[in-house]
C-alpha cells in the first residue's frame, strides 16, 4: 500500500492504518529501536508505541515522508526508554518507571523555554548538516540519527571503518565549532 493511502487511513481514523504501517515499516522501525536499545523486548515495545504515537499525531499531522516521520518517533521513544533503563541501572529502580509514566501527565512534558530551545537547536543542526558535503552529511546522519554502528556505515558506503571513524571525528569537531558559533556553550 502506498504511503499516501496509509496516511489517509490515519486521517479517517481507520484502525487498518496501524496494521498496514506495521506491515510496511515494522522491521524498519524495529531496526532503529534496536540500534539504540540493544534489547529485543524493549525495541518491540517502542515500535508498538510508535504506532500509537502516529495514531495520535495524524491528524493533524500529514507527514511528507511517512517512513522518516515514524523513524523520528521511534528514536525519541527509544531514547526515552534508554534513559529509563539507564536510571534503573543507576539505582533508580521502580521510581524511574513511575517518573517515566508521570511525564505523560504533563502538558507536553517540558516547559515552554526548553521547547523553544530544543526547536532552535534542531534548526541549528539542520543548517549544519545541510552545509556538509554529501558524503559527510550521510555518514553523520546514519550515526546520529539512525544510531548505526560504524561497521554498518562502513559497509553501507563501501568505506573502511577507520575512514568512517576519522570522518565522524572530523565532522564532530566541525559541529562543535558550529555550535559555539551559534551560541551553544
Amino acid at each position: 500500500m502506498e504511503d499516501s493511502q496509509i496516511i489517509e487511513l490515519y486521517w479517517k481514523k481507520n484502525t487498518d492504518a496501524i496494521s498496514k504501517t506495521a506491515d510496511k515499516y515494522g522491521a524498519y522501525c524495529y531496526a532503529i529501536a534496536e540500534n539504540i536499545l540493544h534489547n529485543h523486548e524493549d525495541s518491540e515495545d517502542c515500535v508498538n508505541d510508535t504506532w500509537l504515537h502516529a495514531w495520535n499525531a495524524m491528524p493533524p499531522q500529514k507527514p511528507n515522508v511517512l517512513r522518516l516521520f515514524l523513524a523520528k518517533i521511534t528514536r525519541n521513544l527509544s531514547l526515552d526508554l534508554l534513559n529509563v533503563r539507564n536510571a534503573e541501572k543507576r539505582g533508580g529502580g521502580e521510581i524511574a518507571l513511575v517518573l517515566g509514566e508521570l511525564v505523560e501527565c504533563l502538558n507536553g512534558g517540558v516547559d515552554t523555554e526548553t521547547a523553544y530551545e530544543a526547536k532552535e537547536l534542531r534548526q541549528c543542526i539542520r543548517r549544519f548538516v545541510r552545509s556538509l558535503p554529501e558524503r559527510e552529511g550521510n555518514v553523520l546522519v546514519r550515526r546520529y540519527f539512525f544510531a548505526e554502528s560504524i561497521a554498518d556505515i562502513a559497509r553501507r558506503y563501501g568505506l573502511t571503518e577507520n575512514h568512517v571513524a576519522v570522518m565522524l571525528s572530523r565532522t564532530r569537531k566541525k559541529l562543535k565549532a558550529h555550535l559555539l558559533k551559534e551560541g551553544y556553550q
Binding site: 517512513r67 548538516v129 558506503y157 575512514h163 569537531k173 565549532a177
Partner: protein, 477 residues
C-alpha cells in the same frame, strides 16, 4: 543542553537528507507476492521499443515457424503469439521478449553457464576467512587512496593535508603519488598515463565544491592538475574516459542535476565543455561507445539502476535506454569498453509490485515476516536468496548501443569487469553461498557471503574459461 538534547536535535535534519543517506545501501524495497519461488531466467532487455510492423497474422506466424525450424529453435511450450513475438525479437536483435531467453537457452548449449553449488568443504573454507573484510585481489590496474589530515590551528579542527595515491597492477605496487589539498576519489588507467580526480576540502556550505583532474605518468610523476570550473557551486567528477586520440573526456555532475562533458588534451588544456540537464541522477559510470559515450545514471530511491544515456563526442544527448524486463529489473554494476564493444555487468531480480524497503529481497522478506520466521538457517535461506538473482553479461555494439547477446549465471550477481594482464576480459560473478537473516540490523536484513567466480573472454567475446577466483565478497541487503 546535554547529549540527549543533541541526539534528539538530529530530528531537525531535513527529510531529503535522511532519504539521501539511505540511497547508498546496496539496495532497497518491500513486499509483493511469493514470486521468488517461481523466479527463473527472465532475461529481457527493453531498449525503447517504438513503432510496429503490421503484417497479416498468418503470414507472420508461418514466417516465424520457418525461422524456428531453420535455426533449430523449439516452439515447445510457446503459444502462437509467443512464437511470433520471439521471432520478432530475435530478428530485430532487440531481445525484448521474456520467452526469447528461454528459447535461446534451450537452443544454445552453454549460453547459460553452469555453476555448481558449493561443497560443504568449500563452505567451511569460506567461513574460515574473514568475510567482513574485502579480501579481493584486484586484477589489471587498480588504485588505493590514503587521505592524510592535519590540525588547522586557526579553525581548531583537522583539515585535509594531502591524498596519497597508490597504483597497482595485478596486485603489485607500481608507483605512489601525492596530491596536496585534493581529496582523491579515483583513478583510471589510460593510454597516456593515469587520470586522477578528486575534490577540494570544504567545511562550510559557503565554500564551493570544486573538482580537479590530474595526469600522472607511468613513474608516478604528476604532470599537471586542473580544477574544473563550469559555473556550478558543486561539481563532482564521475569518470575520465580515454578517447584514444590523445584526449580525455571528463564526465562530471554539476549541482546535482547537470551532466557536464569536458574534453582535455594531454597538456591539461580544456578544449571545450557541454552541459546537459539530466535531472536528479547520480552518474555511476561512463565508457566510450564508438565516437561518443555511454553513461550510466542512477537513482536508487526511484529504483533507477539501469538507466543509460548515449552522448556524442560533443556531449549532445542522443538516446536513453532503460534496461528492464517484463518480470525482472536490472541493476548494472560495471561497464567496460573491450574489443570495440561495450560490456555491461548486471544482475536481474524479479520485478516487485511496490517500492520502498529492501527491494531486491522483498519477496523473501515477505515470506519470512508473513510466516513469523525470525530465525532461519543458511541452508534454508540461501536457496531462496539464490533463486532471486541472475548475473548477466550484456554486450552492446559500438554504434547503436543495443545488445548483441548475453551470458547469464543463476544464483549470482554480476560483479566487476576488467582487462587482465593477458589482454582478456575478466568478468567477476558473485555466487551467493551462505546467508543469515538479521532483522534487527538497520543497514541490511539479509547478510552473507558471495564466492567470486571469474569468467574470461577473448576479444571476440568467446568464453575461454571459468574459475574460482579464490575470493569472497560480502552480501548485504
Amino acid at each position: 543542553m546535554n547529549k540527549n538534547d543533541l541526539f534528539r536535535a538530529f530530528d531537525g535534519v531535513d527529510d531529503d537528507i535522511l532519504e539521501r543517506s539511505e540511497l547508498s545501501t546496496a539496495l532497497r524495497r518491500p513486499p509483493a507476492c511469493r514470486k521468488w519461488l517461481a523466479v527463473a531466467a527472465c532475461l529481457v532487455l527493453i531498449v525503447s521499443l517504438t513503432g510496429g510492423i503490421l503484417v497479416a497474422e498468418a503470414k507472420e506466424y508461418n514466417a516465424a515457424v520457418d525461422f524456428f525450424k531453420e535455426n533449430g529453435l523449439s516452439t515447445e511450450g510457446l503459444s502462437r503469439s509467443d512464437v511470433k513475438a520471439v521471432y520478432r525479437d530475435i530478428t530485430s536483435q532487440h531481445f525484448t521478449y521474456d520467452k526469447t531467453a528461454e528459447v535461446i537457452e534451450r537452443a544454445v548449449p552453454g549460453l547459460e553457464i553452469d555453476q555448481r553449488q558449493p561443497t560443504p568443504e568449500e563452505l567451511a573454507a569460506l567461513w574460515d576467512r574473514n568475510v567482513w573484510r574485502n579480501t579481493r585481489l584486484e586484477i589489471g590496474f587498480s588504485y588505493r587512496v590514503d587521505v592524510r589530515e592535519k590540525l588547522d590551528e586557526g579553525l581548531g579542527f583537522d583539515v585535509l593535508d594531502r591524498s596519497v595515491l597508490e597504483c597497482y597492477r595485478d596486485g603489485g605496487l607500481l608507483w605512489t603519488a601525492e596530491f596536496p589539498g585534493l581529496y582523491v576519489e579515483d583513478g583510471a588507467h589510460t593510454s597516456a598515463g593515469t587520470a586522477v580526480w578528486g575534490h577540494n576540502d570544504t567545511w562550510s556550505s559557503e565554500q564551493p565544491a570544486r573538482s580537479s583532474v590530474a595526469r600522472v605518468d607511468e613513474n608516478g610523476n604528476v604532470l599537471w592538475q586542473r580544477q574544473l570550473d563550469h559555473g556550478f557551486e558543486r561539481e563532482y567528477i564521475a569518470a575520465v574516459v580515454d578517447n584514444g586520440d590523445g584526449t580525455w573526456a571528463v564526465v562530471s555532475r554539476g549541482d546535482f542535476k547537470y551532466l557536464c562533458l569536458s574534453q582535455y588534451d594531454m597538456d591539461g588544456n580544456e578544449l571545450f565543455n557541454y552541459v546537459t540537464e539530466v535531472g536528479n541522477y547520480g552518474i555511476w559510470n561512463a565508457v566510450r561507445l564508438g565516437d561518443g559515450y555511454l553513461v550510466q545514471l542512477g537513482n536508487t530511491m526511484d529504483g533507477e539502476t539501469a538507466r543509460l544515456v548515449k552522448l556524442n563526442r560533443e556531449g549532445d544527448l542522443l538516446d536513453t535506454f532503460v534496461y528492464e524486463g517484463e518480470d525482472c529489473d536490472y541493476t548494472i554494476t560495471d561497464m567496460i569498453e573491450f574489443g570495440d564493444r561495450v560490456y555491461l555487468s548486471a544482475y536481474a531480480v524479479p520485478k516487485q509490485k511496490e517500492k520502498g524497503g529492501r527491494y531486491e529481497i522483498a519477496d523473501v522478506l515477505d515470506y519470512l515476516f508473513s510466516n513469523n520466521i525470525w530465525e532461519i538457517s543458511s541452508e534454508e535461506l540461501t536457496p531462496m536468496v539464490r533463486d532471486n538473482y541472475t548475473a548477466v553479461l550484456l554486450l552492446c555494439d559500438p554504434e547503436g548501443g543495443a545488445p548483441e547477446t548475453f551470458y547469464s549465471v543463476k544464483g549470482s550477481l554480476g560483479g566487476k569487469l576488467a582487462v587482465n594482464g593477458s589482454g582478456e576480459l575478466a568478468w567477476d560473478v558473485e555466487s551467493v553461498v551462505n546467508t543469515f537473516f538479521s532483522p534487527a540490523t538497520s543497514s541490511f536484513t539479509i547478510g552473507g557471503t558471495c564466492q567470486v567466480f571469474r569468467y574470461t573472454f577473448d576479444g571476440a567475446g568467446t568464453l575461454l574459461r571459468q574459475e574460482d577466483a579464490g575470493e569472497t565478497v560480502p552480501y548485504h541487503r
